[in-house]
Subunit: 293 residues, 2 copies
Amino acid sequence: MTIKPAGPPQDSHVTAPTQFVTANGVRYAYRRFGAGTGTPAVFLQHFRGGMDHWDPAVTDGLAANRPVVLFNNAGVASSSGQTPDTVEAQADDAAAFIRALGLTHVDVLGFSIGGYVAQALTLRHRDLVRRLVLAGTKPRAGDDTDRHPDVNTVATRHEVLTLEDLRFLFFAPSPASQAAGERFWERRHQRVADVDPPTSKQTMQAQAAAIVDWKRPHGEPFADLKTITQPTLVVNGHRDIMVPTINSYYLAQHIPGAQLIVYPDSGHGSLFQYPDLFVGDVGRFLDAAVAFP
Amino acid sequence: MTIKPAGPPQDSHVTAPTQFVTANGVRYAYRRFGAGTGTPAVFLQHFRGGMDHWDPAVTDGLAANRPVVLFNNAGVASSSGQTPDTVEAQADDAAAFIRALGLTHVDVLGFSIGGYVAQALTLRHRDLVRRLVLAGTKPRAGDDTDRHPDVNTVATRHEVLTLEDLRFLFFAPSPASQAAGERFWERRHQRVADVDPPTSKQTMQAQAAAIVDWKRPHGEPFADLKTITQPTLVVNGHRDIMVPTINSYYLAQHIPGAQLIVYPDSGHGSLFQYPDLFVGDVGRFLDAAVAFP
């Protein structure tokens, strides 16, 4: 599956115009940039996050060799509609968006709750997904034992996450990781025109409800993961205080064709701490004719 | 630290002559090949294994960009002396060998019990090791819960491991993994001249005793791992029936600068199942100016 480039070759994380497509009555905001050929990579974002909250070093890095599609799911930021309160309904919305773009076969990169949605999307719309990247995420009925007790407070106390919030939530306490957090923060603000409004309280509450629902098993825990046939790359940081790192181990143990990478001295946002490593690892995984040669 | 190439540039896993160097009364057999410059990579072998039991695709792959040193530790195969019955004593022997070659700073790749020795070598001879690669291994007092009950029988029933033994011990039951085991077996027999004799019963018994001793904690389990300052890459297969995969997770959780990679649909010998992936991952790790940029 290939698509035409969305705009001139110089389109990038910073310059790609926000566009809209409608499906099931929802007007989805999206941006498309990068290479004109290759399987498009669709990104699924974290709790309360929008298109502006990705790392340009990651999105542009991966866009060098494939079309990249960022979007806001139903109800999120510049998209219309309501955010539903289950991961499965959010996955169905994401599938509707992808199909509305005319895409029939995509790679999916899900981060945090976006990784929950990516799993549900793969399980509910199996034909749509070629390869799967799961970053800082967990299976349904995962293990929250090592979650930091302050996470919920810090993740919801400001209308928009501050640098201080992000450094605590996404990075490790070491000076090296904290400094990487600051560099990420700078990259994340490179785009200043045509940016999203903050996500709403409705989105926050619905996503929080979906996160709570995701704690409950549906049948035998992790059994559905065994039915995922897509090659999968599972990535996390060494100590993720939001979605404990052991869950990445469980994902890779139960998805039959999954490789696990755990980066050192990092947290939930390891993909933003090591964008060069991450882009290299994900790029090789997505580009290989055979996923694991 | 760089060394001169051991022989003409065409030296390789198959052609490098077996040489000898003496330290502490032991005549160590070794082979050196590959690039003439770069930090030498010293390989530490598995239970009952000698120089011929590495994968040429791995050793030659890594030798493209650094000198590679294979050797037999004290008492093993073509080396003289007795194999000691603790990992720590084997590590001291390895250090004596490395120093006898005139090397002062090396990269160490340890597989299985060779990974135990690599950890002890790093902890007891800290100045000697630049970067560490630990494959299919575990910390002292690791978790053997998921060990397959037939491992000990299969690993000792033949004087030299057969293809059938290796496929069971090192590879996953899937057809893809079993086929990879057969390809490894063919590569492993490419060298037909100047090869090692089998390892002795003395080596087998002493290594078995060292493996049993390695189950016992020395003080608080895993505490010594936290003092390893070398950048470390920990690698294993999805389900290692000899040294359960969860131990690789523990290693990477406790060694401060460690990255973990777990390959899909593979076992103890994942490095021999995916030599291209492994050489790529290890090569990038060893070659990077900063280990985790």
